[in-house]
């Protein structure tokens, strides 16, 4: 597994309090998480010497009209907490601070934000597939989207041109790069720039390829033409369908990671139109850090600080608002270090899907898939799934579904992202989209060797999990997508607190740890055993031996292609013995019997044995698949 550089103001590792905050003396902490659709606020306080979650509130995020002020949604959510606790926390549009002797007010306020959307970064120049992948990897832990637009000269010299269907000759034979084709490519790129309205550009590539320095020059020319066009549209109003911040006269930030000898030439070409920040030339993973840092700086400056109401929000706290993904990263890394285990965290949000993997040896692979989610991001998710065939979505549903129905579902969710499912059918469709959001996120990180990462603990957060009516629905969703192998524990963050705790840790590590243990990860769903190797349908996959603390014993045979839940309640432990079939592996090799070194913990569901095989394969026959899915749902009580 590759590792991800990690840094950031207010986003450092747990245990690094921000200067000027007397966290040790904080009796109460108010933490707000401003998502794309909802804003969650939690009040943390000292109860018998331990930090606990006192109350939480939720309200729609108010970045867009009619409020256009992020603090309005936060205030509404705080009002819910005031109603619950009877404490007065806001006054005259400000958080009361410090905490008063009568209990009103709070000592510290911190905020995490994902509401502003991602920073859109166009990758220009001699963008080879390898450089495109590196650029993606460089920003994979940030709310950032990259779009590669290789320079026409680079495309002409380095990439095979696909022949039209029915054309004679070999399909990958290069076609002459005519002036018409070059003009068409230019217009296509300009159109793409108009469509994308990028926040910034990243120029990459050396000048030693067949295109020479032309690719860098064309990248600059594209930026010059785009910027002139954008600036011509200065003063367009929202009523005309264009947001002001996208068209105002500006200098487009350019991160230059191309051939070092052309830095000054690029600066000259872009003079007056773009601000050029040179970083180390991007050639390998060793240069990802500076690009990550530069992009994050731009994200904070050009996205977060432009969120309506940011200035007021900033005045409520001495610490900077933190990107929610960074906050969650911080906590996940802490968990992996603190408990010496591999941790995977999954957060399916309205507009972003995040999968974070932190290893006990310090490895860290964050994958933030901006723009793909189950709220406003469901449109992008649908379109991506559509490209691969809508069967990708339908395969998760135990009933027939038409494209029209899925399309209707998507449009309704895009227009009303706050809506919750009223019928079981809608709920299942929502969960199918969540599965694909996670799958696409994992696929987007092809550079990360995910298969080698074996999580000891899976933590799920986000409203799709937190609002799942049955815990087992959340478990099945995770097993279907992450497809862990061996023995894994699953914890559900029902309170949606963990993504806030990384930010809390920057001002009060003790509070973050205590609230995490006392309130956030309290919904332990159970331990999962997932045999792998050659699991044959309807043949014994694994024999489970359990020895409970009260002396009871149980032996359960689990057949291949099935999933089974064995009772092991929340505060119960048992010794576990696994006897796999001859071709099946439980961690020690095919057919090798294993005994857990420590007693395993129960949970709200129990001990879950997923003997469906890895990789999970669904029947291709529709009727058979519906039957199988229904059986699995029934088996876990979902």
């Amino acid at each position: 597994m590759s590792t991800q550089p990690y840094r950031g103001e207010g986003q450092g590792p747990v245990g690094a309090p921000s200067a000027g905050i007397h966290s040790a003396s904080a009796n109460s902490i108010l933490v707000a998480d401003c998502g794309t659709v909802f804003t969650k606020v939690s009040l943390l306080g000292l109860v018998e010497g331990q930090y606990r979650l006192m109350a939480c509130g939720e309200a729609p995020t108010t970045v867009a009209a009619p409020y256009e002020d992020i603090t309005r949604g936060i205030t509404q959510a705080i009002n819910e907490i005031e109603f619950i606790t009877g404490r007065h926390l806001v006054s005259d549009g400000h958080v009361l601070s410090p905490e008063q002797p009568n209990g009103d007010g709070v000592d510290v306020f911190v905020a995490t934000i994902s509401a502003g959307g991602p920073i859109r970064l166009v990758v220009l120049g001699a963008v080879s597939p390898a450089l495109d992948a590196l650029a993606k990897q460089a920003v994979s832990g940030l709310y950032a989207e990259t779009y590669a637009l290789p320079a026409p000269s680079y495309v002409a010299t380095a990439m095979p041109v696909p022949q039209p269907v029915g054309a004679g000759g070999p399909s990958n034979a290069p076609r002459p790069w005519t002036s018409e084709r070059a003009a068409f490519e230019w217009e296509r790129q300009l159109e793409r720039m108009r469509e994308l309205q990028p926040h910034a550009a990243l120029i990459v590539g050396m000048a030693d390829g067949p295109a020479g320095p032309n690719a860098l020059q064309e990248a600059c020319q594209l930026l010059v033409r785009t910027e002139r066009e954008l600036n011509e549209r200065h003063s367009a109003s929202v009523s005309a369908g264009v947001a002001l911040h996208d068209v105002a006269v500006r200098q487009l930030p350019v991160i230059y990671a191309g051939a070092p000898q052309y830095v000054e030439a690029v600066r000259r070409m872009l003079q007056g139109l773009a601000e050029v920040a040179p970083v180390e030339t991007l050639v390998s993973q060793a240069q990802l850090g500076p690009i990550n840092l530069a992009t994050n700086t731009l994200y904070e400056r050009d996205v977060i600080q432009h969120i309506p109401g940011y200035d007021r929000l900033r005045s409520w706290s001495s610490s900077l608002p933190v990107a929610t993904a960074a906050s969650l990263s911080s906590l996940v890394r802490f968990l992996s270090q603190h408990y010496s285990m591999n941790v995977t965290a999954v957060d399916v949000g309205g507009a972003t899907t995040t999968v974070l993997m932190a290893g006990e040896k310090g490895e860290f692979a964050p994958i933030v898939n901006s723009g793909v989610g189950v709220g406003p991001g469901i449109g992008a998710l649908f379109q991506q799934a559509q490209q691969a065939g809508l069967q990708r979505l339908a395969r998760w549903l135990p009933f027939e579904v038409t494209e029209d129905e899925l399309r209707q579902y998507v449009l309704n969710r895009m227009l009303h992202p706050q809506v919750i499912p009223m019928s079981t059918r809608d709920l299942r469709i929502g969960h199918a989209f969540a599965r694909e959001a996670i799958n696409l996120t994992l696929e987007s990180a092809a550079y990360t060797n995910l298969a080698q990462f074996r999580p000891d603990l899976i933590v799920a957060t986000g409203s799709i999990f937190a609002h799942a009516p049955q815990y087992s629905q959340a478990v099945l969703l995770l097993l279907d997508t992450l497809q862990p192998q061996g023995v894994t524990s699953i914890v559900l963050d029902r309170t949606m607190l963990i993504s806030q705790l990384g930010a809390v840790a920057t001002i009060s590590p003790v509070a973050a740890v205590q609230v995490n243990e006392n309130d956030a990860v309290t919904h332990r769903l159970g331990t999962c055993v997932v045999p792998f190797g050659e699991v044959r349908q309807d043949q014994l996959a694994v024999r489970i031996g359990l020895e409970y603390r009260d002396g009871r014993q149980a032996t359960v045979d689990v057949m291949g292609g099935t999933i089974k839940v064995i009772p092991l309640s929340f505060n119960e432990q048992a010794a576990l013995t696994l006897t796999p079939g001859p071709t099946v592996d439980v961690g020690l090799g095919p057919g090798e019997r294993a005994r857990a070194a420590e007693e395993i913990d129960g949970g709200l569901i129990g001990l879950i044995i997923d003997a469906r095989g890895r990789p999970l394969s669904l029947p291709t026959n529709e009727a058979e698949r519906h039957t199988r899915l229904a059986q699995w749902l029934q088996a876990v009580g979902a």
Binding site: A240, H416, I420
Partner: protein, 338 residues
């Protein structure tokens, strides 16, 4: 929250709108100056260079079977700017009010005291036209006098056949309650998911047919609420400004802006400040589930979360509908409309 104004119908409010024909490359010459009072039927911009729409419009016109009168009227500049603009044409203010700014590209920003109807979804650029309510009892549209370039109000759901009829009649915009997604996609010849999810709204609108649409309730076969219909009927014959642009990323939703008559704006000016908060007494619309489109008043907010058919537990309220019946609905499914 779907409605940028807070509610779907706002009877009196102060708006500022840029009058602009649309198109990324368009360029206009303002015919008015900041501080000048303008009337809805007053030309305010002469188009110097049309945008992306021109080629498309030319193609569309060649395929239209519109009467010569209606095409002439469009060419003379009735304000069908976004979808019918060509170099040299003038476009109308569409609003009554004061010019407060001229934008760099030549757009005219007008401040007006107006009524606003916001739609759930729409398509097409900004157009001005005479608000005309379709009289179902009057038989075919041919028997009803519909001014060229009118904005036609159809109280019920639309379908593809009606839209095709509209295309051939010189109408610049249509306001209706709802339409099936299949019919709307069939008419627009575009992927609705892509259109609604588009970031560059002008670019997305540039490739649509030259009729602007606003659906008050959205997709499906939902009826138009009586109060929306009442307001539209009240302003029958007035010139109004219609925009169909919809973008969830830019929080842009379709809207109809109707300047208040001078007397009403001066003597009975009581601007409404919509409060989107869901509280007892609030009029709300159900925006999902089997009761989608139902309108009622909140008469009780439950302290504890309620369980619904899907098994989900959620904060909820009891609604009293106009027919006196009651429903318990999750608050996440409610939009305040009054």
């Amino acid at each position: 929250m779907t409605y940028p104004f807070g509610w779907s119908v706002v009877t009196q409010t102060l708006v500022r709108r840029e009058r602009w024909p649309g198109g990324l490359k368009a360029k206009g010459i303002p015919l008015v100056y900041p501080g000048q009072e303008v009337q809805p039927d007053q030309p305010v911009i002469r188009i110097e260079r049309a945008g992306l729409a021109e080629e498309k419009v030319s193609a569309a016109r060649s395929s239209l079977s519109a009467s010569p009168a209606s095409v002439a009227a469009m060419d003379n500049g009735t304000g069908n700017s976004s979808n019918g603009v060509r170099s040299g044409e003038t476009i109308l203010a569409g609003l009554c009010g004061r010019v407060v700014d001229i934008t760099r590209r030549g757009g005219v920003v007008i401040e007006s005291r107006a009524a606003v109807v916001q739609g759930a979804i729409g398509a097409g650029g900004q157009v001005a036209g005479v608000l005309t309510v379709w009289q179902a009892s009057g038989g075919t549209r041919g028997q009803q006098s519909i001014p060229p370039g009118a904005i036609l109000v159809i109280p019920g759901p639309l379908n593809l056949a009606m839209l095709r009829q509209v295309m051939s009649s010189g109408i610049s915009g249509v306001i209706a309650s709802s339409i099936s997604s299949r019919d709307l996609e069939g008419f627009l010849r575009t992927d609705l998911v892509q259109l609604v999810g588009s970031r560059n709204v002008e670019l997305a609108q540039a490739h649509l047919p030259p009729v602007t649409l606003l659906l008050t309730e959205g997709l499906g076969t939902l009826a138009m609420p009586a109060r929306t219909m009442r307001l539209l009927g009240q302003y029958q014959g007035s010139i109004a400004l219609l925009s169909g642009a919809t973008s969830v990323h830019q929080a842009i939703f379709p809207e109809l802006v109707i300047s208040l008559p001078i007397k009403e704006a001066q003597e009975h000016w009581h601007p409404v400040h919509p409060d989107p908060v869901l509280a007892v007494g609030a009029q709300v619309r159900v925006c999902g589930g089997e009761y989608e489109g139902a309108i009622g008043e909140i008469n009780h907010l439950f302290t504890h979360k309620q369980v619904f058919t899907s098994g989900i537990r959620a904060r909820a309220a009891r609604l009293r509908l106009e027919d006196g019946s009651t429903l318990v609905i999750p608050m996440a499914l409610m939009e305040r409309v009054g």
